[in-house]
């Protein structure tokens, strides 16, 4: 008689920045739920304390929504995962508090997940890629990474602000409605004239702060907003594509994965596909619903970590605001899981 292996359900809690989200993944590889709410600042960027207060008001509903969507009862949950870092302290702590309480209440193990690893893992899981060179671009991160000997190694990253941050802050300075990225993309389609901006690539690292300053300055110099949006995208994405290509030539990986919130941008996708083709690598992009921060990616990565016994005692589950991608061991990658 064959014994049926029981299915494990993992609840994942994401709360690193402005998105509070819960996801549920099953050990059969299914993503059963992904429910989230976004904090919208009245003005300016994310205010960490206000964001975390917003999170605590919506947490209950988001959690119930996830159980409803997954058609899974809380008592079926076998492990609770949370985004342990990197991110904004108050935001991280709100998610962590909920995750700890749930783990204790349900009497199940707790797993701390690295947010950046989760973006890569969900991308791999839903697109089916095995060993990609990953470009991870979002409001908080800009990283070119690939797996090697137990860890995702960082080949290039921003030396200052993230590319998504550059686009967001520019959009705010130009009084464009929220969210900035898609609006800039839309306006850029109508831009024709390239304005000269700084193009800063240092090896495989990049810098976007000078580009941002110059773009904001050009707002006051009477250039058309469409042309500025067009130029900022052309410069920023060419820089990203160049370093990705350099890393691709260096690592000779056969797959390229684009993930993170900015991955939704069609122009960036088009550029990256072009270099992947040129190096005979296959190009993959994470679907829009898993591109931005989401609980599903935490649930899925939590499951991978759980299967490798990476559980965390509650009393040691401090958040890690500056937890680097390349400081995280990912024992499941070589194990050929999934």
């Amino acid at each position: 008689m064959r014994i049926k292996k029981p299915i494990t359900y993992c609840l994942g809690v994401e709360s690193t920045a402005h998105e509070f989200s819960c996801g549920i993944a099953s050990s059969t590889g299914e993503i059963l739920a992904n429910v989230g709410r976004t904090y919208l600042p009245k003005e300016g960027g994310i205010h960490p304390r206000e964001a975390s207060q917003f999170f605590s008001t919506v947490a209950g509903n988001v959690l119930n929504g996830a159980f409803k969507e997954a058609k899974v009862k809380p008592s079926h949950i076998g492990v609770v995962a949370f985004s342990q870092g990197p991110g904004l302290g108050p935001c991280l702590r709100t998610g962590a508090t909920m995750a700890r309480a749930l783990a204790i209440h349900l009497e199940v193990p707790l797993v701390g997940v690295n947010h950046c690893v989760a973006h890569i893992e969900i991308g791999k899981h839903v697109t089916g890629v095995k060993d990609p060179l990953t470009l991870y671009v979002s409001g908080g991160n800009t990283i070119v990474a690939a797996y090697e000997a137990g860890k995702y190694r960082v080949f290039g990253e921003t030396l200052d602000i993230a590319v998504g941050n550059c686009l967001d802050v520019f959009a705010r300075a130009a009084n464009l409605p929220y969210p900035g990225g898609p609006i800039v993309e839309k306006l850029a389609k109508k831009g024709r004239n390239l304005i000269q901006l700084p193009y800063i690539v240092k090896g495989m690292d990049l810098s976007f702060s000078g580009l941002l300053t110059a773009a904001i300055r050009s707002l006051n110099e009477g250039y058309k907003i469409e042309d500025i949006c067009f130029s900022i995208q052309e410069y920023a994405f060419s820089m990203l594509t160049e370093v990705t290509e350099r890393a691709l030539a260096h690592t000779e990986k056969k797959e390229v994965l684009l993930t993170g919130g900015v991955a939704a941008n069609k122009r960036l996708q088009e550029m990256l596909k072009s270099i992947a083709d040129e190096h005979n690598a296959e190009f993959f992009v994470v679907p829009a619903k898993y591109a931005g921060d989401n609980g599903a990616m935490i649930a899925w990565t939590g499951l991978l970590a759980f299967r490798h016994s990476r559980t965390l005692p509650v009393e040691k589950s401090f958040v890690r605001q500056r937890w680097r991608l390349d400081a995280t061991s990912v024992p499941w990658v070589e194990g050929g899981l999934t």
Binding site: G85, P86, G140, N141, E148, A149, R153, V154, F155, E157, T158, L159, D160, A162, L194, Y199, V201, K202, G203, M204, D205, E234, Y235, S238, T241, E242, E245, R246, L248, A249, H250, E270, M271, L272, S274, I275, E278, H279, Q321, R322, W323, R324, D326, A327
Partner: protein, 210 residues
Amino acid sequence: MLIKKGAEANLFLEDWHDRKVILKRRLSKGYRNPQLDINIRRFRTIHESQLLHDAKLAGVSTPTIFMIDLAETTIIMQFIDGVQVKQILNNLPREDRILLCQNIGKTIGRLHKYGIIHGDLTTSNMVLTPNKKVYFIDFGLGEHSNAVEARGVDLHLMRRAFQSTHYKYVKECFEAVTRGYSKEIGEREAEEVFKRIREIERRGRYIAER
């Protein structure tokens, strides 16, 4: 004959007036806006040639430039027969590895002393010849600068290259590089640069010690 398809240029090994030469051609990138594309290619072709030449004047081994064809954004230069440091570094005996890194550090120090920033210090851009000379190649991202900041970023990139490609030997390699560097440029100036490296790394995202 195409020998290397790089990220921004293709390298061809050709016979040219009875010499073996490398033809480095910066190709138009389909993904880039045409105007941005030509600006970048021209700028880098000019700067790379200048920097390769200036580095040689400073006493650093670099390929000799024979011709520049700006219309084709192509540089024709001496072919250096050797192996990339990237390919051998991990397999060298410890002492040889340290010696080589010290030598690399000295060379970087020499470049900086003469106001040259390489801009892309990786072990792929260093070629070891059979008579144990280290040639520096690929100055496409370089610049002329004496700024502590530029020097710091240059060395920071070197460490990053060790971290991603020679992660088992980061410490010993980079320490050897800094020793050689100090010797060449002088301890006081070197210390200033090392201080700046720590600052640059703290500026980066998610560094534990901040």
